[in-house]
Assembly symmetry: C2
Homo-oligomer: 191 residues x 2
Amino acid sequence: MKYPSGIKLNTAKNITYDNRGMNLEEDINITNRYYIDNNIAFIYKKPTPIQITKVEFSCNNAIIKEAYFKEPSTTDYNGLYKGKYIDFEAKETESKTSFPLKNIHKHQINHIKNIVNNNGIAFIIVRFNKLNKTFLLLGEDLIQFITNNDRKSIPLDFFNKKAYLIEEKYSPRVDYLKIIDLIYGGKNENE
Amino acid sequence: MKYPSGIKLNTAKNITYDNRGMNLEEDINITNRYYIDNNIAFIYKKPTPIQITKVEFSCNNAIIKEAYFKEPSTTDYNGLYKGKYIDFEAKETESKTSFPLKNIHKHQINHIKNIVNNNGIAFIIVRFNKLNKTFLLLGEDLIQFITNNDRKSIPLDFFNKKAYLIEEKYSPRVDYLKIIDLIYGGKNENE
């Protein structure tokens, strides 16, 4: 693994980095902020996992002087919605025809499988940038595809058939919980 | 905020750091590994949030050359157990008489409140090192204490009355889900 996409950096100096995922990530972060501010759901992006190898202290402040990006063992987002455990990964693709599975690590697939098998709600959000379409594909359908196919990508056709198109609007921008309500009935666990 | 406790570093060179929290954190990580390996629960420690300000690339590898520790906006651990959303923070104290509340950030208290109010299971695990006692205190009891008291620490007596003592054993080391079963009945949400 080289480095993850979507890392936010303070300075642009000497930095050229792949910004695939930035826009969808930003949209989702803003959407999650909206959910939190309106007491709807408490879903956060996990910090990027890094391995710290050198720290210096000056004036009681710690400065990390050497660290490396690590491969994530779980998905990027998780949290709570109406008493339910929510877990997902978000990815963009420039392809017009399929979503390359190399975008999701084996650990993450395995994690999604565990969540599905243990009554959590897991899914992936995939945006086809060139098509202006953002889909929510349930973990069970993702796992089913991977189990039954040797293909290295999921064709758009599979998304059209099995996934849910997320309407994009001003606020919340990527209202993925509307889809979750649609699928799971929108009831609170304790109601 | 200076730097969080419990940061794991690869090299010991030039590093002096506070290791409060290391042992409890390790015990919990091993316990969580046990839960995952035995398909019991999927609870992970979130990576330490950092602000990356400088990255260098050599031979296609990204090396973080400057970064700072950020204050966490949520608790350290969350995940899924029997269809339920689990969320907690773990802290050690050297005090024999009380747990200083400065150990938990305001953001985290607020987060715990949100989880409790939205039907998630939130708690703190507090180890009194000098007493060899590890308690699980439910989020609702923590919030109740903070709401009704101006004290800057929670007395041991409150833990003895309101919290649950976690039995420490060989494996799993800190079996906190046993307490959750005890309180919530151990039923799977979908049973």
